[in-house]
């Protein structure tokens, strides 16, 4: 790949990523497509609520689970899911030492871990994910619309709904059209 070609390719993807950034629900999702591979960056600043902070300060392990799905919309039926990945961040606060132990996981694999005594830093780590890869399982079709849907589940929760089925703590979506 030449430098010129790399430049235009990077420019294309950057512009594409900028155009695909969408504000949907509580999670800001940005879909990035590069070399026919899809990754998603998302941030959920509103996820760190007072309840979440209270849970964290209590010493319980606070976990944000993000279900990231790559889907192809369908006009007549349920949208087809091409690939999924589960990204999670958890924090354990040690009330004795004041240290936050933050970990990030993707599909149950720890991909990152850090300790800090800065709560603001913890907030950023817990609610931001960069370039989480989504394996679509099949090749994307050119000029076809796709979207990345991210749903957040925080646990444990301080409150609960009497309706036990289907309750998300946040969601976001980014639509894009794959252009070869």
């Amino acid at each position: 790949m030449t430098a010129r070609r790399s430049f235009w390719s990077a420019a294309l993807w950057m512009s594409l990523a900028a155009s695909l950034a969408a504000v949907a629900g509580d999670i800001k999702v940005t879909a990035v497509v590069k070399d026919a591979k899809v990754s998603a960056s998302f941030t959920a600043p509103a996820a760190f609520t007072d309840d979440a902070r209270a849970v964290m300060q209590s010493g319980l392990v606070l976990t944000f689970t993000f279900d990231v799905e790559l889907r192809r919309p369908s006009g007549v039926w349920f949208d087809r899911t091409l690939g999924t990945v589960v990204a999670a961040s958890s924090v354990k606060f040690d009330n004795l030492t004041g240290v936050y132990q933050v970990s990030k996981l993707q599909d149950d694999h720890v991909v990152w871990s850090e300790r800090t005594q800065d709560e603001a830093q913890v907030r950023g780590w817990m609610t931001s994910f960069e370039r989480v890869p989504i394996n679509p399982g099949e090749a994307l079709e050119p000029n076809v619309e796709y979207y990345v849907h991210v749903r957040l589940h925080a646990s444990p929760k301080r409150t609960f709904s009497l309706w036990p089925f289907g309750h998300d703590d946040g969601s976001g979506r980014a639509d894009f059209t794959f252009i070869r």
Binding site: D51, A54, V55, Q57, S58, G59, L60, V61, T63, D94, N95, L96, T97, G98, H153, S155, P156, K157, R158, T159, F160, L162, W163, P164, F165
Partner: protein, 767 residues
């Protein structure tokens, strides 16, 4: 309980659909009960183990699983209630047996189950809320927070002290010695530090620059207290030193030692005059196992408490969900049990009612199958015994009814036979009830007494108070007065202008206990018998007269003729006198002979020799005998002979005699062949008519005239011997006629012709 027919009987229609044996099986119920108890136990166990369950599971799957279970239970309970209430409503709309009773029972049982359950649910939920509020009460929170603050503060104080010491060392240690890696100098400077830290350690690193790579650290000095546990690892110090070098600021870390204690480390960069890092000093202090454990315990207690406090809502929700699930399970069980009990109570009664209704409808072969051995089972057994007894009684009754029906048929046949006999017999029979009212009148009695159906039910005194029946009044009175014994009396009634002689016998009927039950009046028409007796008497008289009178007549006649011959020579006057007297004697003797001959004929009339003959032909042969007599007279002899007359078995000569006697009698009634015209101007006419009365099986011959007729009082006497309205003749003509007709099995009656005259009707049985 099950409706079933007795063995060998047709299966009856079952109501209420097929039996649900699965739900009624005690084993199934036992298993269901054990399953329910297991679920309840599991729920209680779950509620007791909430503190051991990971919070995400507790507030996620478990909580929402319980909520889902609660929702399912509520839906199931609502379904069970709605279904059963709907069934009850439908049964009440259909007016099914015991539907209202079952509805009331179900309502009572449901109220007994639901009301306490709901009250327990409400109060239990309130208790859970109050308990949760007390868990996180102020004193506990204060104590735990204080303990945790103390532990944390102690930890932080130690870290602060280490940081201050590390910062002091970073400022006081000579940079040149570090840069020169003068370990001996540096060791001399820091070797006293661990002692002041008690169980402490100081480690000095210098930066190592490698072109093309990031800065690295190399250990220069490491001094430690002799009492410091040896299970610490240097890598931890290297790591925190590297972090401090990388961040350019102090870094801390804690190492949990295998000996139970904790090693607190603080790393501070050492900078030269230009602010460039030239090394890192790491100061460590051992925190004893006991202190560490106590601080950790305090922190863990605090965190555990805070964890519960943070999850107060979900935990409370779990407890309430468990409680709600338990309550719903109990409620559902109680509801189902109530419905089941209601069914168990009402169904046998309902089946008994249906069985009673079926038996009432005649289905006596119905038997109920008992499901239990309790009192209801005994009741079912009693019901079945009752049904069996009813069936047996019914069969006996059917047999008795059949026998009775058979006997009734026999009695009825006999009654009809007797009634037929009574109707056909010539004897009149009248029955009176105990009150003297006419019960029955047979045909003969009605005919003899001129009664009709209106007499039935009327008092005998009224019926027999009629003028022409007055002669029967004494007999009826005695019967009505219930005088014992039979009353027999011969009475004579004037019926239709003729006398009827009846032998009336009244018998009082008494029951087995001697009580009067009425009376029976038997009437025998003895008129023919009396007539026959009279005729027989007259025949005897005639025979005697013929014998006693005829014998002397010939000597008298011969004597008279002898006298006339003897006085033939006598003087004329004498001879004339003798002749006149002897002629008178001879004439009268001749007349007496004729009379005697008629008597002899009447007395010696032979029996008829019956042969089939045509009555019309016989009439046609007989009537021409009057042609000569009537030719010069004024009397018309008309024949109106019916066509198609059947043959009659008659003695033609005797019937011819009958025809001649009747025509002679009519001719005499008109005044002889030269009879004058009738007062109305009509010519004297004799009419001979024949007709076949197929219904009575007779051939009727009538000989009538339009003469002056016979007074009603004399009509019955016309057939008596020696009775004559003409004042001449023997008076035996009609007596002979009657005798011939009677001996032919027929009958003769005399009636009044219209507008005037007499008509004789002879009935002869058809062949």
């Amino acid at each position: 309980m099950l409706l079933k027919p007795a063995p060998g009987a047709d299966a009856p229609q079952q109501e209420g659909g097929p039996r649900r044996r699965v739900l009624d099986n005690p084993r199934v119920l036992l298993v269901a009960g054990l399953f329910l108890i297991a679920i309840l136990g599991g729920l209680f166990w779950l509620a007791d183990r909430t503190s051991e369950i990971a919070p995400p599971v507790l507030t996620g799957a478990l909580l929402y699983g319980l909520l889902a279970v609660d929702l399912v239970l509520i839906v199931v309970l609502a379904f069970v209630l709605a279904r059963n209430l709907l069934k009850l409503w439908v049964e009440q709309r259909r007016a099914a047996p015991f539907a209202r009773f079952r509805g009331k029972l179900v309502a009572a049982l449901l109220a007994m189950a639901i009301v306490p359950s709901v009250l327990v649910l409400i109060s239990g939920s309130q208790i859970i809320r109050d308990s949760a509020a007390r868990w996180f009460s102020g004193p506990v929170d204060d104590v735990l927070s204080a303990a945790q603050t103390i532990a944390s503060q102690y930890y932080q104080d130690r870290l602060d002290a280490l940081r201050l010491r590390a910062e002091r060392l970073s400022r006081t240690l000579p940079v040149t010695a570090i840069a020169a890696s003068d370990a001996a100098t540096l060791t001399a400077l820091v070797e006293g530090e661990p002692a002041t830290l008690r169980d402490g350690m100081v480690e000095l690193y210098r930066t190592v620059s490698d072109p093309g790579h990031a800065q690295d650290l190399a250990l220069l000095v490491a001094v430690e207290s002799p009492t410091l546990p040896k299970d610490h690892v240097r890598a931890s110090a290297d790591l925190v030193a590297a972090r401090a070098l990388a961040s350019g600021r102090e870094e801390t870390t804690q190492d949990d030692l295998d000996s139970g204690g904790m090693l607190l480390r603080t790393a501070v960069p050492i900078r030269n005059a230009d602010g460039e890092p030239v090394g890192v000093v790491v100061v460590s202090q051992h925190l004893g196992a006991e202190i560490k454990t106590r601080a950790r315990l305090a922190t863990e207690a605090y965190e555990s408490y805070q964890g519960l406090r943070v999850l107060k809502g979900p935990i409370q929700g779990i407890y309430q969900s468990v409680f709600l699930a338990v309550t719903l399970l109990i409620l559902m069980s109680a509801t189902w049990l109530g419905l089941y009990l209601a069914k168990r109570i009402t169904r046998p009664v309902q089946m008994l009612a249906e069985g009673a209704r079926a038996i009432g409808a005649g289905q006596l072969d119905l038997r109920l199958e008992s499901e239990t051995s309790d009192e209801l089972g005994s009741l079912v057994e009693s019901f079945n015994m009752m049904a069996a007894e009813l069936q047996t009684s019914r069969e006996r009754l059917e047999q008795s009814r059949h026998d009775l029906e058979h006997k009734n048929l026999e009695v009825d046949a006999r009654r009809r036979y007797i009634e037929t006999i009574l109707e056909r017999v010539a004897t009149g029979v009248i029955s009176l009830d105990a009150t003297g009212h006419v019960q029955t009148v047979n045909g003969a009695a009605a005919r003899l007494l001129g009664l009709d159906a209106a007499a039935l039910g009327r008092p005998a005194s009224d019926v027999f108070g009629r003028a022409d029946l007055q002669a029967l009044a004494p007999v009826i009175d005695r019967a009505v007065r219930r005088e014992p014994g039979a009353v027999v009396q011969e009475v004579t009634l004037a019926r239709e202008d003729r006398e009827v002689h009846l032998a009336a016998a009244a018998t009082v009927l008494t029951g087995e206990a001697g009580q009067p039950e009425g009376a029976v009046l038997v009437l025998d028409d003895v008129t023919p018998l009396i007539r026959a007796q009279r005729v027989a008497a007259w025949r005897d008289v005639a025979r005697r007269l013929a014998h006693e009178i005829k014998n002397p007549l010939t000597p008298i006649q011969l004597s008279a003729e002898r006298l006339r011959r003897h006085f033939g020579g006598a003087p004329a006057p004498t001879f004339a006198l003798v002749t006149e007297c002897t002629d008178a004697i001879i004439t009268e003797v001749e007349a007496l002979k004729g009379l005697v001959d008629e008597f002899a004929q009447f007395a010696r009339l032979r029996g008829p020799r019956l042969l089939p003959a045509d009555l019309n032909q016989l009439i046609d042969e007989t009537l021409p005998l009057y042609a000569g007599v009537l030719q010069q007279g004024s009397v018309h002899l008309e024949r109106r002979l019916g066509s198609g007359l059947p043959a009659v078995r008659i003695d033609a000569e005797q019937i011819r005699q009958v025809i001649i006697n009747l025509v002679d009698n009519a001719l005499e009634a008109l005044g002889g062949p030269a009879a004058p015209a009738r007062p109305g101007g009509g010519s004297p006419t004799i009419t001979v008519t024949t007709v076949h009365e197929a219904r009575d099986g007779v051939v009727r011959m009538q000989v009538g005239d339009n003469g002056p007729g016979v007074p009603p009082a004399d009509r019955d006497k016309l057939f008596m011997p020696y009775y004559s309205t003409k004042g001449r003749g023997s008076g035996l003509g009609l007596a002979i006629v009657r005798r011939i007709v009677v001996e032919h099995g027929g009958g003769i009656e005399v009636g009044e012709a219209h507008p005037s005259g007499t008509i004789f009707t002879v009935e002869l049985p058809a062949a």
